[in-house]
Structures are given as structure tokens and as C-alpha cells.
Amino acid sequence: MNDARPDPDELLGRIKEEEIRATRGKLKLFFGASAGVGKTYAMLSAARQQTEQGTDVVIGVVETHGRKETEALLTGLARLPLKEVAYRDKVLKEFDIDGALARKPELILMDELAHSNVPGSRHPKRWQDVEELQSSGIDVYSTVNVQHLETLNDVVGGITGIRVWETVPDHVFDAADQVVLVDLTPDELLQRLKEGKVYLPHQAERAIQNFFRKGNLIALRELALRRTADRVDGEMIQYRRDQSVARAWQTRESFLACIGPGDGSDRIIRSAARIATRLDVPWHVIYVETPELRHLSEKRRLPILKNLKLAQETGAETASLAGSDAIETIVDYARDHNLSNIVVGRDHVRDWRPWYRSFADRVGKHAPDLDVIQVAREEARPDQRQEEPTDESLLDRLNAPWQSFAMSVVFCALATLIAMPLHSVFDLANIAMLFLMAVVLSAVRYGLGPAVAAAFLNVAAFDFFFVPPRFSFAVSDVQYLMTFAVMLAVGLVTAKLTAGLKFQARVASRREQRVRALYEMSRDLSGALVPEQIAEISQRFAETGFGARTAIVLADEKGRLQEPIQIPGGVPAVDMGISQWAFDHGAEAGCGTDTLAGSPLLYIPLKAPMRTRGVLVLEPRHQRRLMAPEQRRLLDTFARLTAISLERVHYVDVAQMTTVQMESERLRNSLLSAISHDLRTPLAALVGLADSMSMTQPPLTAQQCEIAMSMREESLRMNSLVDNLLDMARLQAGAVKLNRQWQPLEEVVGSAIKATGATLARHRVSVNLPDDLPLLQFDAVLIERVLSNLLENAAKYTPPGSMIGIGTTLGRDYEDISVEDDGPGLPAGKEEEIFKKFERGQKESATTGVGLGLAICRAIVEAHGGTIRAENRRGSGARFVFSLPRGNPPSVDTAEEDVLQEESQK
């Protein structure tokens, strides 16, 4: 049954989205139909309101274009100084992203989202700056006009006749947290224009005057309104999905747009994007590289890459596939990815050939169950199309080294030589076969060009040497013309087919090579044990696979990058700043990317399952080679493999370290417990035996009894000494595991007083603890020891009859517990020293002990994350204060108790 339960993947995705949103800064867009509607004004007003509410607002970039009212709004708002960027021989002012990130305001104003930055800036586009600001948690206000939206760009261009080149991808607009439509009727706008309130640059004033025609303005306004409405609609759908209201879409329709090398592919992409975004469905864009298309010139391949990139930016999944038959590949892809609609561009070829089937028809015929949508491509410009020499590629294909042509001549010559003696035996028709053989061989060995040459040469040779009259190009019988024609045709067709096959074989073998290289690399990597080995292996792979040098920069635990791993043969000069950026943002940077494209190196973050391990730096010899889609994919796989291996090596280290640590801990613990057992057992026996001595019959004399008692006491003292020493050893070795429990302080105070019992017999102890103390989290045994030690000290260093007080004060994060006495106090200036090991308050006193007690107290309290200090009281006496962190005590559920109480009352 198809119930309305939300799809778990989708839910997960949404949770992820929300998580990212929670930490990301919010983007509020002020959206207008055209310049002059007052977006900047609206943005500044909103910002002023925020400032009044106490938000930390900073102006990143604002263009007031000298408008007075707008400028008036600037006063009182903090302004981030612009960075001066030298470009050519001018100094231009540009937004300072590093300054903004360092300043880290709560809200930043970034006018003109579509602005292109001065070359050499970190990102080519301002909207990319905005994304970075957002991802570091800064809220952003920005403005954008409808004509700057990527997918509406050509629509607006069609309406106004002016195309703008500064565009913003639609996903930026769609992902904005809020969009405020700043609306002004065309009449009012024209009025403002007349009053000179709208900024017009002086150059191209005419064109702009054309732009501000009422018709245009109405159309633009409608577009803006509709786009905003679409967005609201999208929010509505999202809301309904959040509320799990029955899904608007029962079966997810999805689109596959196919683009080719021709013009107008960008238009197909934009159309598909518009449909897909409106329906809120996933869509793919693919380009199928057939053997013919492989021969395209660089100049014609570049736009394809650009279009694929455009598709990616507008939110599509892209792929570039290789296949001998475009239609079959497309249909297979659609079936594999469950895409039910195929969007193709309409063919412009005039139907002068009756057998001609359009591309859409052929796709439809091949896959009758899929919907095929034809969209308009760029308006046909036949004249221009003719001008473009398509045979440029044909020439390319025929191109081959001169040796190959020479060899095909040799083949012809050989065919002629072999045919000569056979001429008298065989028919001419069979002789012709021999020549065909030469064509096939040329095609197989040397490709299309030499084969075509061979085809022509063969016909000539056949005519010259064999067709009567022999040794002349003249032909006596007209029927031989037929032979020549067929021979030439068969030769050419064979040449083309064979060369095509050979080409495909080469493509296949290259692909196989790549796969093998990857396989070998992963095999090598699985044997690598240290990062240096991984660096070497990846260097080897990059050299053969991409013709590039690499470096691996690893990050330490705190996310700081270290120096590149040194490998034999050296590493490229890595820019640590760019590496750190790529690492922090988890995004690629450097050549061929959107970030710092001017760098000659490419920086790829090494993302492993647990975290990003570092950065892979490539120095390609041919940047363009890295740009091809299949190379990019290979590169991604390569980076991923490297990252995973680095992570594996890292965890091998961690595991080893843990084993060693566990082993040494075990050793330490067993050593300590062995020592403690061996030292304590005789003491326990001594105490017991001294006791039992006094029980013997006949009873001991008074003197003997006293001796037995002293033995007992000394043994006990020895025992507490051993306790102290062992405790100190344990605490210092870190062998003590705190058994922290939430408990009331009162309890441990009580048990400490009881444990100190005998020692305190001649002192007065007063406990002063408020009733409503919160629970504290501590190890009862150890804190009891701290209190006992402090109480014992107090008893030891004060005369009998002194007062010992225990009290507490609550701080914000800590609770202070104090033990104070009214004895002689601490020697002045020694308040800190007494906590050191083997340090005692009064050096030459008869009081026993080695001075470990306070050192143990300090070790225990610090293990709890607290502090301990000693001071002299104002009157007389010493005070020891230790603090414990308060933390978040668990609540004790008294509701249950109420229920029970009610029951019992019944």
C-alpha cells in the first residue's frame, strides 16, 4: 500500500538539511524586478531595525549610487573597509572576505549578489563569498534583480534585448532563507527615473533608456512576481511535506536532459531546469560521446564542458558517457536511473530528406515507454551555422603522421607488385580484391587518413596497371568506371568502419588501463603502512594517470595542516593558505575551480568516512586534461582512495597505541596491587597479632599490654604511610579511575568525620551545610579521603579542644568546600608550598607524617576538575578550601513519590 508515510531517506535528508541550516548563517534576499525599485533602501532599513534590536550589523558592500535617501540610512551602521586589489595597472576596491570572517558580525550586508569579483579574489562571484560567510555562521542580507537569475537570464534577454552576464544560480535564490520582494509599479519607477532617482551609468545610457520602457518593466515585474510566487509555492510544498500531508507527487517524475555539441545546449539545460524546479523533481543532464564526437576540436568541446558545469550549478546531476550509439546509451541511462522523461532539443534540419527522422523520433522509437519532450534550442541561425566549418574536425580525423601515409603508399605498391604476376591467371575483379585488402590494412594500422589515401591510390594504381589499356589512365571499357566507383566506395566505407572500430578499441583499452591503474593503486595502497608510502603511491598514479605531480598535506587532530609529506622526487610548492581553506571548507580550490582559480595547483580535500584527513595537492602539466569529466571522476576516485587509505593507516596507529597503552596500564595496575598486597599483608598480620597478644592467657602485665598496644599503633601508622605512598603512586601514574556519582555532599562529610573518628576525639567539630545543596558528582571514596586528610591535618596541627568547622559556599560553576580551624594557622608564605610532596608545615616538629596528605588531596581534587588552596583565617587558624564543578545534576523524580503517597492515603 502506498501510504502517506514519509520516505526515510527523504526524512534523513531533511534532518541533515536542518542541521546544516541550524549552524549556517541565514540569507535574506531583497528581490526586485529591475534596478531602481529600492532594494538597497529596503535592505538598509531592515538592517537598521536589526541594529536597534541590538544585532551586530556590519556593511560588507553597499552601492548607494549617490542616492541621498539611501546614503542617509548608512549613518550609524558599521562599515567593513574594502580591500584594495591591484588589477592590471589599476587599483580596484573589492569586498574583503577575510576581514569579514575575522570581524565575524552577526549580520552582514552584501549588496548586488550577482556581482563578479575582481580577478584574483578568492571567489569569482560574490554569491560564493556569501555562501562562505553563511557557512561560517554569519547572517547575510543581499539584493538581486530578476534578470540576474540564471534560468531567467535568457527569458529576460528575450524580453528586453539586453543580456546580462552577471548571473546567480537559481539554487542560491531557492536556498535563501527569506526572500523579500521589493515591488514598485512601472509608472512609479518611470517617475523616479524622470526625477533622476535611479542610477544610470553614463556609458550605454541609450541602451538603458531602451531597457526602461514601460512594456519591459511590466514584463519584468510579472516575472519577478511569478518567481516569488513559485518560491512561496515551494515553501508550501515543503511545509506540506514537513507536516506529512499527502505527498503532492505520488510517483516522482524525473527528467533527463540530453545535450550535444551543437549550439543551444545551454537553452535546453535552462528549460529543463525550469521544468524540474517547478515540479521539484530531480533531473540529470548527460552528454554522450560517440566515436564521431571524440574527434571534435578542442574549441567545440569546451562549450560542452561549460554546459555540463552550468547544469551542475543549476542543480542537475551530470554525466558524460561514452557509447557508440547515442540513443541506446541515453535510453539505458534513463532506465538505470529511473528517469521517465527525456528532454531533447528540437532539430533544425529542414526535412528535405524523406527518410530523415529527428533525434526525438528516434529516441521515441527506441523507447516507446518513455516520454520525450522537445524543447526549443537557440533560434536557428542558418547563416552562422554554415559559416562554422564542421569539416575542421574531418580534417582532424584524416590527420596522421606522414610516415603513416607513406606506409599506405607502400601497401598499395605491394598490392600492385603481388598482383602483377597474377594478372595473367586471375580475373581483374579478383585483382581488385587485393587492393581492397591494402585499404583494410592501412585502416587497421594507421587510421582513417592513410586508409582514405590508400583507397584513392588503389583505384589509380588499378586503373594504371591493370585496366586495359594498361600503363595508362585511359579506360577502354566504360564498365570499368563502375568498378572504380564501387572499389572506391567499398574502400572508403571499409576504411571508415575499420578506423571507427579501431578507435573504439583504443577508447576501451584506455578505459581498461584506467581501471587497471586504479586497481593497482588500490592494491598498492592496501599494503601501505605509513603515510609516506601512500604519498609515493599516489604520486606514481597521478604521474601516469594525470601527468601531474602531487603532494599530500595531512592535518593533525586539531585540524591544523602540517608540512606536505616529503617523497623522493620532491613535491610541488604548496600554498598552505589555500590548503587550509580547502581543508576547512571541505571544497576544492585552485586551478579549474571557483576558488582562487589563479593558482597553478589544484587542492582537493581528502574526505574519508570519519573526517577530512588532509589535502591532496596536484600540479598538473596540462590543466585542461584535468577538466574532462571522466578525468574528474577518476580524480575524485583517486582522492577518495587516498583518503580512505590515510584513514586506515591512522587507525592502525591508533589501535597500536591503544594496545600499548592498555598493556602498560595493566602492568602498572598489577604491579601496584602486588606491591600493595605484599606491603599490607604483614602489617595486617602485625595489627592482628598485637591485638591477639593481649587476649592470651594468662593475661599480660600492664607493661606488656602497653607494649602490645604501641606495636599495634605503630603498625597502623605504618599502614597509613604505605596507603599514602601507594595512593600517590596510583594518582600520579593516572591509574585511578574516578567512580563519579551524583550524591549529596553531606553524606561524604558524615562518613569522613566517622572515618577520622578517633583522631578527632579531642576536638570539637561543627558542620555547617545548608539544607538545599545541589547534588555533586564525585568519587565518594576519594573525596572522603580528601576530607579525612584535611580533618586529620586540622586535628594534628591544632591543640586539643580547638574548633574544626566544615562549611560550603555555592559559586556559579563551582561549589567551594572548606575545612577550617582556630589553631595557630599556616606559616606565612607557605600556603602554596604545603601542597608539594614531602612538604610539611612545621619542619622540626614532633608531629608524625611524611607530608603526602595534602599532595594527595590536590591530586584527587584536580582529577575531579577542581582546585584546592590553603589560607590563613583573619583571626587565627587555617582554612583549606577545595572546589568541585557543579555540572548538571540529574533531577530526582518526585512525581512518582506523589502518586505513591496518594495510593497509600487511599
Binding site: V687, D691, D727, N739, A755, A780
Partner: protein
Amino acid sequence: MSEPLPVVIVIEDEPKIRRFIRMSLEAEGCQVYETDSMQRGLIEAGTRKPDMVVLDLGLPDGDGVDFIRDLRAWSDIPIIVLSARTTEADKVGALDAGADDYLTKPFGAAELLARVRAQLRRRSSAVGSGSTVFEFGKIRVDLGKRIVELSGKPLHLTPIEYRLLAYLITHPDSVLTHRQLLKTVWGPSHADDSHYVRVYMGLLRKKIEDDPSQPRHIITEAGVGYRFISV
């Protein structure tokens, strides 16, 4: 006929300590059988019909907790365990398994005898009287009538406090671990919320102790649990 001598089995591997325990117990009028291993201890316990077992937790031939479980399977005689300091976890384990009390080495004869006497007394009183009235300090508890009085005036306890008190007074002189108290008073689902016990123990002390910070009846055994002393 004179009362038979109480039989005590001492399981301890250190001969000196064993000897001292034996001397002390015999002076107290007990019949003592001693062994140095758990294995033998279990056999002795099965054949001598002891009234009590004194068990050292640090025996070389096995885990004291297993011994206690084995013994508890067929007998409820008091068990006092002997252990070194800094091994609270072992003590708690032994007590949870069914031991009644513990002594930390080194201990004197007086301490040992006090514990032994208390356990023997508890055993004989449990066998003898079926009384449901308990008195200690200024408190009088009548479990049959569910009445608690302080100096003759009724004292109001919440149900949990009452259950806690009832459990304590019916197990005097024994060490009760947090886990045991939680399981009996709150039920098994609360076995890990030991702060509940501590909080309610504090509340109970405020009601029945003269000075809750220096309690006389509900004694805290740090890191282990509580002991109720009626005198």
C-alpha cells in the same frame, strides 16, 4: 544443656592473619575451622554446618564472588568478607552477591569481634522472634501497623522513605549496597539511579537522626552503601 558453640569457617590464605582471627574468635567462644582456599572452604561449609563464614576476597584460587553465589544457593548464613583498601568494586560485588558485611585490612580484633557478634546476634534473632516492632534511639517503628513514632509522637514519612526505613531496620548491622536498596525500594528498573538512594537517605536522616551530618544510625560506607545500626 548449654548452647552449642557457634561454628565459624575462616577462609584466608595468609597463615599469620588466619591465626590471629582464630585466636580472637576462640577467645569469643566460637568453634573455628580454617582453610586456605575457596575450594576447601566450600567443602568445609558444606560439611561443618557453620553459623558464619569469614572470607578473604584476595584468595589465589578464585573469585570470592563465585564462592558467595555458590554458598548462597543453599545457605543464608552470614558472610563477612575481608578485603584490602582501594578495592571498593570488589566489596560491592561481594555484597551484591550476598555477603553481609566487610572488613578492611588491617583491622583489629575488637572490630572483627564487633562485626561477628552483630551478625551472630542478627541470625539468632531472625530465627527466634517474629516481632514487628523495632526501637532505636528515639524512634519506634511498628511494621505491622505501619506506624513510625519519634519520641512517642507520630512521624510522617513518605512511602519511599518508609519502605527504605523498613528495609534498613530489618537488615541491621549489614552493609546494604545502593543497588540492593534501589532494587528493593524502587524496583529493578531503577537499579542504576544510585542518586535516588542517596537523596532519599539524606531525607530520611533529616527526619530520624539528631545530627544528620554525623549520623548514628544510618551510616554511610563510602563508595559501597549503607549500614543500619540500631544501638
